[in-house]
């Protein structure tokens, strides 16, 4: 039977299965599952309710920030300020509540802080043409410094009249004994995934990362979208800061120090491409999970904690290696 043009056009090149096997995220999921199975057999302490509760909760802070970072990285940008923004937002929340205001006002102030910082980053990058690396590096320094100014570099652990509400928000488990931060992470991941796949905004983010010039020429509002993605990234850091404050019950100006690197590592392990144009919400969460499982397992297996960096660094390189190998094969 002759193949008509219509049939050719209607044909799908990839089935669902080939796409799954071709995705970096899939292999990272396999790695996480294998690691968990191995640890369940090799140690008595891994597959305990308490340890799993801890792991899932620890994943969340990096994962929530990584969700925001995913937007920025898909556009081909980078946000190095997230760790400091997380700290500043935590501190704004803590100081506001310590001063006697309610939790609603505290959270509103923290979110407003995040959005202002994100807008500041975004406007410098999108409208004044600053390189994202430089702007957010500057903000990394500025935000942490402001957190020190706000708290006079002290530890805040009393949150005024709504003290207990805040601790319940971050440390409690409202549904089925699942830690609250995990619930927030799941909800935010679903929202992120939806926005990236099903909205015009999400489509335009990928377009900017793929070919910014083309996006501009076809009438995509590139500048506004860039400002928006940096605001989303800062907002994610702010939300993580609020939840983490409630979980820890105390804020120091050290909070989130160096977190930007963990977050970027999580997104890259999860399949985001720092050159832009690629990334998923699921990947960001899975990447954060792999890092946390590695961290947790080293402790359980009795390996010196100094080795942590080697294993996490190795995971980053392995994840990207898979991607490179696939590209080599395609090019040949």
């Amino acid at each position: 039977m002759a193949v008509t043009l219509d049939q050719t056009i209607a044909q799908k090149q990839h089935t669902l299965l080939t796409r799954v096997f071709a995705s970096q995220t899939f292999w990272v999921v396999i790695a996480v599952i294998l690691a968990c199975l191995f640890l369940s057999v090799a140690t008595d302490s891994f597959a305990t309710t308490k340890n799993l509760y801890n792991i899932t909760r620890n994943i969340t802070f990096v994962a929530i920030v990584a969700l925001g970072m995913t937007f920025v990285i898909i556009t081909g940008g980078i946000d190095l300020s997230v760790g400091s923004v997380l700290c500043l937002c935590s501190m704004v929340l803590a100081v506001t509540m310590h001063a006697g205001y309610g939790i609603e006002i505290g959270i509103a102030a923290a979110i407003a802080t995040a959005l202002i910082i994100g807008a500041f980053n975004g406007i410098l990058i999108a409208y004044l043409g600053f390189p994202p690396f430089v702007v957010t590096l500057g903000m990394l320094s500025i935000a942490r410094s402001l957190a020190m100014v706000a708290s006079n570099n002290t530890v805040v652990f009393q949150f005024g009249p709504d003290h207990d509400k805040l601790l319940a928000l971050g440390g409690g488990a409202f549904v089925f004994g699942i830690a609250n931060p995990v619930l927030y992470m799941i909800v935010l991941a679903l929202i992120t995934g939806f926005v990236l796949r099903w909205t015009k905004f999400g489509r335009h983010i990928f377009a900017i990362g793929g070919n910014e010039h083309a996006a501009t020429l076809t009438g995509v509002p590139v500048r506004q979208i860039k400002v928006a993605v940096y605001m989303i990234s800062a907002l994610a850091a702010g939300l993580a800061g609020i939840v983490q404050t409630g979980w820890l019950g105390a804020v120091t100006t050290n909070l989130g120090n160096g977190m930007e690197l963990q977050v970027i590592a999580a997104t890259v392990i999860g399949g985001a491409n720092l050159a832009g144009g690629m990334g998923t919400a699921f990947g960001a969460v899975v990447g954060a999970a792999l890092i946390e499982v590695i961290r947790n397992s080293l402790g359980l297996l009795g390996i010196n904690a100094f080795w942590q960096g080697v294993f996490i660094g190795g995971a980053i390189l392995m994840a990207v290696l898979f991607d490179r190998l696939r590209n080599f094969r395609r090019n040949e």
Partner: protein, 246 residues
């Protein structure tokens, strides 16, 4: 009646005069070849019509009404479509996503609207069929041949009722067979009453498909005549400056 009319259009970037006092009019259903050497001002002129740049001096009229464009979207709203030289494609997106880039179809109610993948795949597939191109709407552009990429860029101009299509070097980097296809497509657009401006370096293409040729040199229009009354030799002379002006 002319679809598009430019009157004394100039554009300078600082001290550089890219386009200098150019007037021209383009009729419906006419293919106009716009020729000139690199740096003659062709692309700048096109970018002004496309809404990427605003003219420093002069006015543009469309269907007798003054045309002022602040951004590319506005040009599109007036029925001006552009096929850019670099095609302006995103390699990480599918063919259909590229066709609909900047004007995605959505379904839903009010602010709750999601991308309508099915409709975009379907319509893009129909356009590729009209173009007789073996381009599949779901394929990623990064895996495509030069001709397929061209088809994606051209398919964009067929989404809406275009009055004028500007093509910047559409035949520069594709195979001989694909060139013939692109020229056929240009005729197809013309037969629908669309005015096509073909910017090209390739003399055979222009003389094959165009009704009129406009030659630019150093930002000025040096010739504007029918293909029948010109010759490749004359146009070459005009481009290089061997012939001053006609």
């Amino acid at each position: 009646m002319s679809v598009l009319e430019l009157a004394n259009i100039s554009k300078h970037f600082g001290a550089i005069q890219a386009v200098n006092d150019v007037s021209l009019s383009i009729e419906a259903g006419q293919v106009v070849g716009l020729m000139g050497d690199n740096g003659a001002g062709k692309s700048t002129l096109v970018k002004m019509i496309a809404g990427n740049f605003r003219p420093s001096h002069g006015t543009m009229q469309m269907d007798g009404k003054e045309l002022i464009l602040h951004k590319p979207v506005e040009a599109r709203q007036h029925g001006i479509e552009i096929v850019h030289q670099d095609l302006a494609l995103c390699n990480n997106l599918t063919a259909a996503a590229n066709v609909y880039l900047g004007r995605e179809l959505r379904r839903g109610v009010g602010p709750f609207r999601i991308l309508d993948y099915a409709a975009m795949y379907k319509r893009a597939g129909q356009i590729f069929a009209v173009l007789k191109s073996e381009t599949r709407p779901r394929d990623l552009v990064k895996q495509m041949s030069g001709g397929q990429r061209q088809a994606v860029a051209i398919a964009r101009t067929m989404l809406s009722q275009a009055k004028i299509v500007l093509m910047d070097e559409p035949t520069a980097a594709i195979s001989v067979r694909q060139v013939a296809e692109v020229l056929n497509l240009i005729r197809h657009l013309r037969d629908q009453g669309i005015a096509v401006v073909l910017i090209s370096h390739r003399m055979p293409d222009v003389f094959d498909v165009a009704d009129r040729v406009i030659v630019m040199r150093r930002g000025r229009k040096v010739a504007d005549k029918t293909i029948a009354s010109s010759s490749p030799e004359e146009v070459t002379g005009l481009i290089t400056g061997a012939i001053e002006q006609v």
